[in-house]
């Protein structure tokens, strides 16, 4: 099963504190431990929301607002996707993640094709499987 660890943080507070080189080293050790254990499928950090936009779907046409998202208390700062055997294993990795104060991790199970069986139309599931194969070929 796959789990996504979403790092949530207070952007304004984080901006006020310059990044600490020791933090990068700690993060590097955590990432290495996950790769050594063979559980890490992906991991990325996001740039500040000032470089982003929010697209809201609330009427006829979507509304686009430019970042920063100052009204948001918590923003996604980055994520990891892990392949593990159990929820407990995902939890133990999440507990080992290096944190700065004000950060927390939301741990969510990633949906698998089986989750949609009997829920989505079969032809959509077949098309999805084919798309994943094509996408992997393009960028794998």
């Amino acid at each position: 099963m796959r789990f996504m660890l979403l790092l949530k943080y207070d952007e304004a507070a984080a901006m006020a504190t310059p990044p600490d080189p020791a933090m990068f080293e700690e993060m590097g050790r955590f990432n290495t431990a996950m790769v050594d254990a063979g559980v890490l499928l992906a991991g990325e950090g996001l740039t500040p929301s000032s470089q982003g936009a929010a697209v809201t779907f609330d009427g006829e046409e979507p509304t686009v607002s430019d970042g920063p998202f100052t009204e948001a208390k918590e923003l996604v700062g980055g994520f990891w996707i892990l392949k593990v055997d159990s929820l407990a294993e995902a939890l133990s990795w999440a507990k080992r993640a290096p944190f700065r104060s004000g950060e927390r991790l939301e741990v969510r199970r990633v949906a698998e094709a089986e989750d949609f069986e009997g829920v989505a139309p079969q032809e959509v599931l077949d098309a999805e499987e084919e798309l994943r194969a094509r996408q992997a070929q393009q960028h794998g």
Partner: protein
């Protein structure tokens, strides 16, 4: 450049929730959208997340980690899924976000993913070198 589209919605709109949209219709529309992304060669990854009742929160208080089981009923909006796109501009990412077939009450956050170049001069060089090695190891494993 890579952008992440993060879909945020009230959990009541998730599949099986009381405000969920008509399922077959939404699955088909989403399938067409994903197909367009693949046709354009911009889709790097896309996943949906299961309801927060399958998840948990880990908070650090400076001494240790505390764990709270889902569902996260106090959260107004939750991440329901994401796409990662490789595009040539922020505008292109925003245009794809606007085309996403999702209904009222849903927001897509468009966020640029940090590249190595963003961390040069900020993170120690040996950390960046180690990171490049790790990424190669992850990529090699995925192809097996």
């Amino acid at each position: 450049m890579r952008y992440m589209l993060i879909m945020e919605a009230p959990e009541s709109m998730a599949m099986g929730g009381p405000d969920a949209p008509p399922q077959d219709e939404i699955f088909e529309a989403m399938s067409r959208y994903n197909n367009d992304l693949v046709e354009a060669g911009v889709l790097l990854a896309a996943e949906g997340l299961t309801p927060s009742s399958d998840g948990f929160l880990v908070t650090h208080d400076g001494e240790g980690a505390s764990v709270t089981d889902g569902p996260f009923s106090e959260a107004k909006e939750l991440v329901a899924g994401f796409w990662i796109l490789e595009v040539s501009s922020r505008e292109e990412a925003v245009q794809w976000a606007r085309r996403c077939p999702i209904g009222p009450g849903v927001t897509l956050q468009v966020r640029r993913i940090a590249e190595m170049a963003d961390l040069e001069g900020i993170a120690p060089a040996e950390v960046l070198d180690a990171e490049a090695t790790l990424r190669r190891r992850v990529a090699e494993r995925e192809q097996v």
